[in-house]
C-alpha cells in the first residue's frame, strides 16, 4: 500500500501533470517556426548586414569620407573615394566612394559605422543570413552593399538577399 501511494506520487502524478501541460498548450498558437521556409520578423533595431543607402533621387548617400572606417573598432571597412563629375555623378557634391568594402568576418555588428556616417549612408539592417562557404565571399563590396532602389533597406527581411551572396551548389 505504501509502495502504491509512493508510486502514484512520484511517477503517475508528475506524468499526468506533464501531459496536462502538453494538452493545455495544444490549444495555443505555435511559437516554433519552420526556418528557413518561414522567417520571423526581426526587432526594429536589430543590427545585421549593412546597406549603403540611396537618396530618393537614386543618388548614393555615401560620399566616401571614410568616417565609418575611422570609427570601426574592427577596422574592417575600406573606402576609396573619387570625384564626381557632371557626366558621371554618383552622389551629390564632390566626392563619392568608388570602392567600399566591409569584411564581414571581422565585423562585430556594433553599428559604430552607422553612428559615424554624416549622411546616413551606411546602415545595419535585418538580414542576418550571412553564412557562406568561402572566406572570400565575406568581403562585401560596394555592389553587394548598395541598395538597388531607394528604401530597399527598410523593407522587412524576406530571406537570403537576392543576388548578393552566391550560393555554391
Amino acid at each position: 500500500m505504501k509502495g502504491q501511494a509512493q508510486m502514484y506520487r512520484d511517477v503517475v502524478k508528475p506524468l499526468l501533470a506533464g501531459f496536462g501541460i502538453t494538452a493545455k498548450r495544444l490549444g495555443r498558437k505555435k511559437v516554433t517556426i519552420q526556418y528557413p521556409e518561414e522567417l520571423r520578423e526581426q526587432y526594429p533595431r536589430t543590427r545585421w548586414r549593412h546597406f549603403l543607402t540611396r537618396y530618393d533621387s537614386g543618388l548614393e548617400r555615401c560620399i566616401g569620407c571614410s568616417l565609418c572606417a575611422g570609427a570601426c573598432p574592427a577596422r574592417c571597412i575600406y573606402v576609396e573615394a573619387a570625384e564626381n563629375t557632371d557626366q558621371e555623378r554618383y552622389s551629390p557634391g564632390e566626392r563619392y566612394a568608388v570602392r567600399y568594402e566591409i569584411n564581414m568576418l571581422r565585423c562585430i555588428f556594433c553599428g559604430y559605422c552607422q553612428d559615424a556616417c554624416p549622411t546616413g549612408a551606411i546602415v545595419l539592417r535585418k538580414d542576418f543570413e550571412l553564412a557562406n562557404y568561402e572566406r572570400s565571399q565575406f568581403l562585401f563590396t560596394k555592389e553587394m552593399l548598395l541598395e538597388e532602389y531607394p528604401g530597399q533597406n527598410l523593407e522587412p527581411h524576406k530571406g537570403k538577399m537576392q543576388g548578393t551572396i552566391a550560393l555554391k551548389n
Partner: protein, 696 residues
C-alpha cells in the same frame, strides 16, 4: 619672429607663474616655455606675425608699483605682442574663453563645414581649435558665402575659397619664404580671396608648402585629392632624393601605396619646407611602368627569368672588360657593394656616376665640396652664387640663401649667364655672356688680388674681362670688397661642369676663397651624388670614356645602375652608339625606359623608400631612410643584388643587411667613421672632414 637675440631678459608672469624670457619675445612663444598653448591660425613661427585671425587673444596686464595688476581693458593678440618687463599674461580666464568662442563662431560663419569631404579633415587646425575652444552650436542662420569649389590654382594646388579663413599664411609664404610673391589677397571683407594677381597659374617651385601651412582645407593638393583621410594613412620618416639637399619628408602610404609626401622638420636642412619636385615628384613609386621581375632578352622580346638565372647570365658575361654607370639615387651601401663587386668579382675598376660635360680627373677636382653647411648659409654676410641656378637644382639651399637675405641682411651676389630666381633679391647681379664664367671668375680673382695688393701679373685686364663677359670692373671690385669683409661663402654646384672651362673657373674661385677666407662650396647635384663622390665612385675610365669604349667595341659589357645614358648624358648620339654597340648590357632600374630597349638583362630595382639605406646630402650629411613601403614586385635593393652576385662569383660571406654594409663602409672609409647605423643622429651625421690624397 620666433627667436629674438637673447641679449636681455625680462620678468613676466604667465598664469601666475613667474618667468624670465628674452626681451621682445612674442607672447605666443613665451607661453610655450611653460608648456601652455595659445590657439593660433595666422601666426607661423617662421613668418612675421600679422595678427589677422584674432584666435590668439589673451588677457594682459601690468604689475603696478603697489603690487596689484592692472589689466588692459581689451584682450590682446598674443602673436603680435612682444613681452616686456612686468607683463602679466592670462591664457586661461573666463574672458579669454569667451573671446575664443566668439572668434571661432565668427570664423565659422562663412565656413562650409564640409569636413567629411575635405582633405584636411582629421588634421585640420580649424577643426581642432573648434573642438577645444569653440562653441558647440552656431547662431548664424543666414545663407553662407558661396564660391566655386575646387578651383585649380595650379596643377598641384586646389583652392576651395569657401573654406578660407583669410589668415594670409599662403600669401605671406610666397612673399617671405619662397619669394616668388605669387599669391596676394584680392578684394576685401567677405569677398577677400587669396589668388594670383591676374588669375594666372600659381607658378612656384615651392607651392606645395602652402598646402601644409594653410590652417584649413582651403588649399589642398590636387594630386592627393580624395586619395585618403589622415586616419587611413600610415606614415614613415623618409628622405627626398630628387636632388642632393636630402630634405626630410614624411612618406604617407595607404594599403602599401605611397599617396602623399609632406615636409618633415629638420632644422639643419629643410627646416619644414619641401620643394615641389620633392612633394609631387614621387609618382614613380606607383607607376604602371615599374619593373617587377628580372627579364632576359630572347630575340626581340623580354622573357621573365628568376634572379638566379639573371645572375648566372651576368656572371658569364661581365669581366675585366666591363663597366658600370650609376644614377643618383643609389644608397651609400649600394655604391659600396657595386665597387666591391666590380673590383673583387669582375676585376674591373670602370665605374662612374657623373654625367656632366666635363669630368675632372683626380688632380683637377676641388679639395672640399662643402665648407658651408646649409644652415650656416643664412648667417653669412655675403653669399656669392656662382654659375648656379639654385632654385632649380638646390631649392632648399636657395631658400636658405634667401632667408639670410630676408632676415639677416645677407648680401647675395649672383653671377650667371642665365637669369635665375635668385636675381630677384640679389644685391648685385653679375650677369655675364654665355660661356664666359671662367673669364668672370678670373676677373674676380684679379679684383681680389688688386684689393689685397698682391701680384696681378698674368691676369687679363679688366677691359678684356668686360669685353668677354660684359661685366664691369666696378662690379667686380665691389664683389671683391664684399668678399674681403669676411664671413662670406661662395656657392657653386656641380652643374658648373657643364659650363666652359669649369676646372679653371673653380681653380680661380678656390683661390679667391683662399685669399678672402670665404667658404667654398661645389655642391653635388643628384640625390646621393655626394655619397658617390665621398666613396670615390669614379675609378678607372670615366663616363665619356666608358661610353666611347662601348661604342668602339673596347668594352664588352656595360651595367646601368638606375641610370639612362640616353637622357643623362650630354651627347645622346654617343649614348645611342654605345648602347647599340655594347655586346652585353645590364639595365637595372625602377621604371621601363628607353635604354632598357638595348638591354640583354633587365633587373628591377627597389625605390629608395622600399629598403633601408643611407644617403649623403650635398653638405656631407649622412642620413638614413628606413623601409616605408613594400616593393610592388620582385625588386631588390641594389646592394643586395651586388652582394648576392659577388658571392656567386667569389664565394664568401654574403651581406645580410644594409647596417652591416654601413659598418664596413665606416671601417674602410674614415669620412664615414661616425655614420654607422648605431651612431647616426636624428638630424643626420655630417661626414668627418677627411681629405684623402686621392682628391688633391
Amino acid at each position: 619672429m620666433a627667436t629674438v637675440a637673447a641679449t636681455d631678459t625680462v620678468n613676466i608672469v604667465i598664469n601666475d607663474v613667474d618667468l624670465q624670457v628674452p626681451k621682445g619675445e612674442l607672447v605666443v612663444e613665451a607661453v610655450k616655455r611653460l608648456g601652455h598653448e595659445i590657439p593660433i591660425f595666422c601666426y607661423h613661427p617662421r613668418m612675421k606675425p600679422v595678427g589677422m585671425c584674432r584666435m590668439c587673444l589673451v588677457e594682459v596686464g601690468f604689475k603696478q608699483p603697489d603690487g596689484s595688476v592692472r589689466k588692459m581693458p581689451k584682450p590682446q593678440a598674443g602673436c603680435t605682442l612682444p613681452v616686456s618687463e612686468g607683463m602679466v599674461i592670462y591664457t586661461d580666464t573666463e574672458m579669454v574663453h569667451r573671446d575664443r568662442k566668439g572668434v571661432l563662431e565668427f570664423l565659422l560663419i562663412n565656413h562650409p563645414l564640409d569636413c567629411p569631404v575635405c582633405d584636411r579633415g582629421g588634421e585640420c587646425p580649424l577643426q581642432n581649435n573648434t573642438i577645444f575652444y569653440g562653441p558647440s552650436t552656431s547662431r548664424y542662420i543666414d545663407i553662407k558665402r558661396h564660391a566655386p569649389k575646387a578651383f585649380p590654382l595650379s596643377e598641384y594646388v586646389t583652392l576651395d575659397l569657401e573654406r578660407c579663413i583669410q589668415c594670409g599664411r599662403c600669401v605671406r609664404f610666397t612673399e617671405e619664404i619662397s619669394g616668388d610673391a605669387q599669391l596676394a589677397f584680392r578684394f576685401r571683407g567677405a569677398a577677400m580671396q587669396p589668388s594670383t594677381f591676374k588669375l594666372t597659374d600659381f607658378d612656384s617651385k615651392f607651392s606645395g608648402n602652402v598646402i601644409e601651412i594653410c590652417p584649413v582645407g582651403a588649399l589642398t593638393s590636387s594630386k592627393y585629392r580624395f586619395r585618403a583621410r589622415p586616419w587611413d594613412l600610415e606614415t614613415s620618416e623618409g628622405l627626398c632624393l630628387e636632388c642632393g639637399n636630402g630634405c626630410n619628408v614624411w612618406l604617407d602610404h595607404r594599403a602599401a601605396k605611397l599617396v602623399r609626401v609632406n615636409g618633415r622638420t629638420n632644422e639643419a636642412i629643410n627646416e619644414e619646407w619641401t620643394c615641389d619636385k620633392g612633394k609631387f615628384g614621387h609618382d614613380y613609386y606607383n607607376s604602371s611602368k615599374r619593373l617587377t621581375q628580372p627579364l632576359r632578352r630572347e630575340g626581340d622580346r623580354f622573357v621573365p627569368v628568376s634572379w638566379g638565372e639573371a645572375y648566372a647570365e651576368i656572371a658569364a658575361h661581365l669581366g675585366a672588360k666591363s663597366a658600370a654607370l650609376v644614377g643618383s639615387t643609389v644608397s651609400n651601401e649600394g655604391l659600396f657593394c657595386l665597387q666591391k663587386l666590380f673590383k673583387d668579382g669582375f676585376g674591373s675598376e670602370n665605374i662612374d656616376h657623373r654625367w656632366t660635360r666635363t669630368l675632372p680627373a683626380a688632380g683637377e677636382r676641388v679639395a672640399k665640396r662643402h665648407e658651408s653647411s646649409i644652415a650656416s648659409l643664412e648667417h653669412k654676410k655675403t653669399v656669392l652664387v656662382f654659375g648656379a641656378d639654385l632654385a632649380n637644382s638646390q631649392p632648399i639651399v636657395h631658400l636658405r640663401v634667401r632667408k639670410g637675405w630676408f632676415l639677416n641682411e645677407t648680401r647675395v651676389v649672383v653671377a650667371h649667364s642665365q637669369t635665375t630666381d635668385a636675381d630677384s633679391f640679389a644685391n648685385l647681379l653679375l650677369s655675364c655672356k654665355p660661356g664666359s664664367l671662367d673669364d668672370l671668375a678670373m676677373g674676380l680673382e684679379r679684383a681680389v688680388a688688386e684689393a689685397q695688393k698682391t701680384d696681378v701679373q698674368g691676369f687679363a685686364s679688366f677691359k678684356d674681362t668686360e669685353k668677354t663677359t660684359s661685366v664691369k670692373e666696378s662690379a667686380l671690385r665691389e664683389v671683391a670688397a664684399m668678399l674681403l669683409e669676411g664671413n662670406a661663402s661662395i656657392v657653386c654646384t656641380a652643374s658648373i661642369y657643364n659650363e666652359n672651362k669649369p676646372v679653371e673657373t673653380l681653380a680661380a674661385l678656390a683661390k679667391i676663397a683662399a685669399a678672402t677666407g670665404a667658404e667654398f662650396n661645389v655642391y653635388a647635384e643628384g640625390g646621393n651624388d655626394e655619397g658617390a663622390m665621398a666613396l670615390g665612385v669614379m675609378t678607372g675610365r670615366n663616363t665619356h670614356e666608358i661610353l666611347q669604349d662601348c661604342a668602339m667595341g673596347d668594352l664588352n659589357a656595360l651595367w646601368l645602375v638606375g641610370a639612362d645614358p640616353l637622357t643623362l648624358h650630354p651627347s645622346r648620339r654617343l649614348a645611342e652608339d654605345a648602347l647599340e654597340a655594347v655586346p652585353f648590357l645590364v639595365y637595372q632600374g625602377l621604371l621601363e625606359c628607353e635604354a632598357m630597349g638595348y638591354a640583354s638583362i633587365v633587373l628591377p630595382m627597389e625605390a629608395p623608400g622600399e629598403h633601408d639605406g643611407t644617403y649623403t646630402n650635398i653638405e656631407g650629411r649622412v642620413q638614413r631612410m628606413q623601409q616605408a613601403v613594400k616593393n610592388p614586385g620582385d625588386g631588390k635593393p641594389a646592394w643586395r643584388v651586388f652582394s648576392e652576385l659577388l658571392v656567386r662569383i667569389k664565394p664568401g660571406r654574403p651581406s645580410f643587411s644594409a647596417k652591416e654594409i654601413m659598418d664596413e663602409i665606416a671601417a674602410t672609409h674614415p669620412a664615414f667613421a661616425e655614420a654607422t647605423y648605431d651612431k647616426l643622429e636624428k638630424e643626420g651625421t655630417p661626414l668627418k672632414p677627411v681629405i684623402e690624397n686621392f682628391y688633391m
